[in-house]
């Protein structure tokens, strides 16, 4: 080989070997990176396992351990163990065959455990629209805004036999005991009893607290016949459930009250008590729907008269539909309540009713419609005369949460005695704090 040939060979060799060497360097680099990646990946896995281990109280994850042997779970620990020594979350044992049940002793704040459940429900009202001097009178018209009522509730067991319920109503007029009674829930013969001040069990609306009512205002028949406070007095109430072969919940209630209900009953003598009776039947129509029928009768001495009785008779019907699986989003309630009033100081018997339909359209939205009509006794020179008021109301309700609700109600009421119709828009914001026990269905 000539010198030129050797030179050419060297150049070619250099040209070939250099890229090969470079390629080898890159491959080595890639291998190093892959190794590094594997190391990091392994480290991440180890760290994750350690985290899992810490989260699960020191045990390696089950992926590398057999499943807990559930047959080795033996007994429930005695409940007398002190809560301080009891872990709230049991560390999984070394061997799952050693798992025991855990004693979870509840530890409410020692001395406060007997305090009653306390709650406050605020009822803020607003009003827009035409002036309405007919609802409560010219001196007591609805203001544009007002904190109409704050209901303060105290509820607790008194002893093994009775539960106490106090509902105080704080209004611009002052503080009033709306209800305050002992409820005896352990009586024999399927009886329960209430003693104290309470709403009479007449129909449906009369038993409701403000925050339970599906409207901002009262239906005309309740407002005209019973007044703003409703049939509410001091007395004794006894209820009995009657067993029957038709799978109907049948309950009869008898009540005796002192006999003082503003503008309705008046206690003129020792024996002028106010008596009330209610019979309720409830039956499931299907899993999603049910119907409730009730009938009521109340009698007492007529307020503002020297003699004569004031008597009320009523029928109430409630139909509910709520599909169980979609119950958070859909429901419907239809209500009808008819009341007759017989009092000797008016030229004829009084009658009234309301019918309503409330439809839940989304998880937090409800719409409603109410139609009502009611006679009203208006005092005149030649005695009281009956006039008929008629109304219609539409509601839209929004629940930000379980503990607050915002409602608007558009209503039109035609007052019979003045032959005038009033259109109004009512607003309501209700908000609750504390533990307020659920009301009866």
């Amino acid at each position: 080989m000539t010198a030129r040939g050797q030179l050419v060979f060297l150049l070619i060799s250099f040209a070939v070997v250099t890229p090969l060497a470079a390629q080898q360097t890159i491959e080595q680099r890639v291998q190093q990176l892959e190794k590094r990646l594997d190391d990091l990946s392994r480290q991440v896995t180890e760290v994750r396992q350690q985290i899992d281990q810490l989260k699960s109280g020191g045990q390696p994850p089950a992926a590398v351990q057999p499943a807990e042997d559930l047959t080795k779970i033996e007994t429930v620990l005695p409940t007398a163990a002190t809560s301080e020594q009891t872990p709230t979350q049991a560390p999984p044992p070394n061997a799952l065959t050693d798992v025991q049940t855990i004693n979870n002793v509840q530890t409410p704040g020692a001395s406060k455990v007997f305090n009653p459940d306390i709650s406050v429900i605020g009822n803020f009202l607003g009003k827009a629209g035409q002036v309405n001097p007919y609802e409560f009178g010219r001196a007591d018209m609805r203001p544009t805004f007002q904190l109409d009522e704050a209901e303060v509730a105290f509820q607790a067991f008194v002893d093994p036999y009775a539960k106490a319920n106090f509902f105080l109503s704080l209004t611009p007029q002052g503080i009033d005991v709306e209800e305050g009674y002992a409820n005896f829930v352990t009586l024999p013969y399927d009886l329960t009893a209430k003693v104290g001040k309470m709403k009479a069990y007449f129909g449906k609306d009369n038993t409701w607290h403000t925050h339970v009512r599906p409207w901002v205002d009262q239906p005309l028949v309740i407002h005209n016949f019973f007044g703003e406070e409703g049939l509410n007095d001091v007395g004794v109430s006894v209820s009995k459930e009657f067993s029957n072969p038709w799978n109907i919940f049948l309950e009869g209630t008898g009540e005796v009250f002192r006999g003082d209900v503003a503008n309705v009953f008046e206690r003129r003598s020792q024996n002028d008590l106010f008596y009330n009776a209610h019979l309720k039947g409830f039956r499931d129509i299907s899993e999603n729907s049910n119907i409730e029928l009730g009938t009521s009768y109340a009698r007492g001495a007529l307020a503002g008269a020297s003699n004569g009785a004031n008597q009320f008779a009523g029928v109430d019907v409630t139909y509910r539909w709520k599909p169980l699986m979609q119950g958070l989003y859909k429901s419907f309630i239809g209500r009808l309540e008819l009341i007759g009033n017989d009092r000797p100081d008016v030229n004829r018997k009084l009658r009234g009713f309301y019918a309503s339909a409330d439809r839940q359209i989304a998880q937090r939205w409800f719409t409603g419609l109410r139609i009502d009509a009611s006679d009203r006794a208006v005092a005149g020179d030649s005695g009281a005369r009956a006039f008929t008021d008629r109304g219609v109301a539409a509601t839209l309700t929004f629940w930000p949460s379980e503990f607050s609700q915002l409602r608007g109600e558009l209503r039109r009421v035609h007052y019979g005695d003045v032959s005038r119709a009033v259109n109004e828009l009512l607003f309501q914001l209700q908000f609750a704090i504390g533990a307020h026990g659920a009301h009866a269905f």
Binding site: F282, G327, S401
Partner: protein
């Protein structure tokens, strides 16, 4: 005449004897899960009815008077406890006219007292945190080990109510434990490949389930327990799912699919309806079938 009287007496004794022998312990359970386990333990010696159905949100059950008829005649009331039933059971108990099933009485069983409880809040809690359960997460039955603990408690209570049937209940408990153990081994093995997987759930119903099977709950569709999804929180969950490459959104059958589906469309995560309770769907008649179904659906989505 004497012979007739004798025959009548014997017949009466036989009838009464049969009546007593056939008398079942009447159990009313707040939800289907304790009811299912009670049927496993009690067999034909118990008559079990659940108030809440498996496809119903157990927080919001209407306290209908028809339930009073059940409670009035019950020998035993089983509750999940941890205030799961706070919104509807107290008024039913007050009107039940059955003092034997009130808290503290022999016929009352709070199953939360013997199980492992997660998510006990610490520090100050208030309703700005949503509908929190101050005593801990009440969905504990979704841990198979807790199901065994519940079974033990139920066995003890049934034995207390009917000592003569104690051996019968104990035998059935042992049988239940063995079957649960076998099933659990299978379930854990099936879920082993997915250990450490992150999921999003609609409501905090699944911490016990997730812990048992090694899943990590990265977030919930509800911004806070019991509070419906808000647009801003939904956006946060979408970003979370994208960032953490979460494959599955688990929801209960009684919630609206709209928001989970929307999140799923934006992220590619699969929305899986899992049943948190027995009898949530036709065919899920017992605890075993419930887990078989839920795990099978979850595994399909996680693959």
């Amino acid at each position: 005449m004497k012979r007739i009287l004798l025959l009548l007496s014997v017949a009466s004794l036989l009838i009464c004897g049969n009546l007593f022998a056939a008398a079942k312990i009447k159990v009313v359970s707040a939800t289907e899960d304790p009811a299912s386990i009670t049927r496993e333990i009690g067999g034909d010696r118990v008559e079990v009815t659940a108030i809440g159905k498996g496809y119903q949100d157990p927080h919001f059950i209407e306290p209908k008077p028809s339930f009073l008829l059940l409670l009035k005649n019950a020998d035993l009331l089983e509750v999940v406890g941890l205030e799961l039933e706070i919104g509807w059971l107290p008024p039913l108990l007050d009107q039940s006219r059955n003092n034997d099933i009130r808290p503290g009485q022999k016929g009352y069983l709070d199953l939360s007292l013997g199980v492992e409880i997660l998510d006990r809040p610490s520090g100050t809690i208030n309703r700005s945190m949503g509908d929190v359960h101050p005593l801990g997460n009440p969905h504990y039955w979704l841990n198979p080990a807790n199901a065994v603990r519940m079974a033990i408690e139920i066995t003890n209570k049934l034995t207390e109510l009917r000592p003569a049937d104690g051996p019968f209940f104990a035998q059935r408990l042992q049988n239940f434990k063995v079957r649960m153990n076998d099933a659990n081994k299978r379930w854990v093995a099936e879920m082993a490949p997915f250990r450490g997987a992150k999921i999003v759930t609609y409501h905090p119903s699944w911490p016990n389930f997730a812990r048992h099977f090694g899943l990590e709950i990265a977030g919930t569709v509800e911004p806070k327990p019991g509070i419906p999804p808000s647009p801003s929180h939904t956006l946060e969950i979408i970003n979370l799912i994208k960032q953490q490459h979460i494959k599955v959104i688990v929801m209960e059958p009684y919630f609206d699919r709209k928001t989970p589906d929307f999140i799923g469309e934006r992220t590619g995560a699969k929305v899986v309806v899992l049943y948190p309770s027995v009898a949530g769907k036709a065919g899920l008649d017992d605890y075993f079938r419930l887990f078989d179904y839920d795990l099978s659906e979850l595994i399909k989505a996680l693959k």
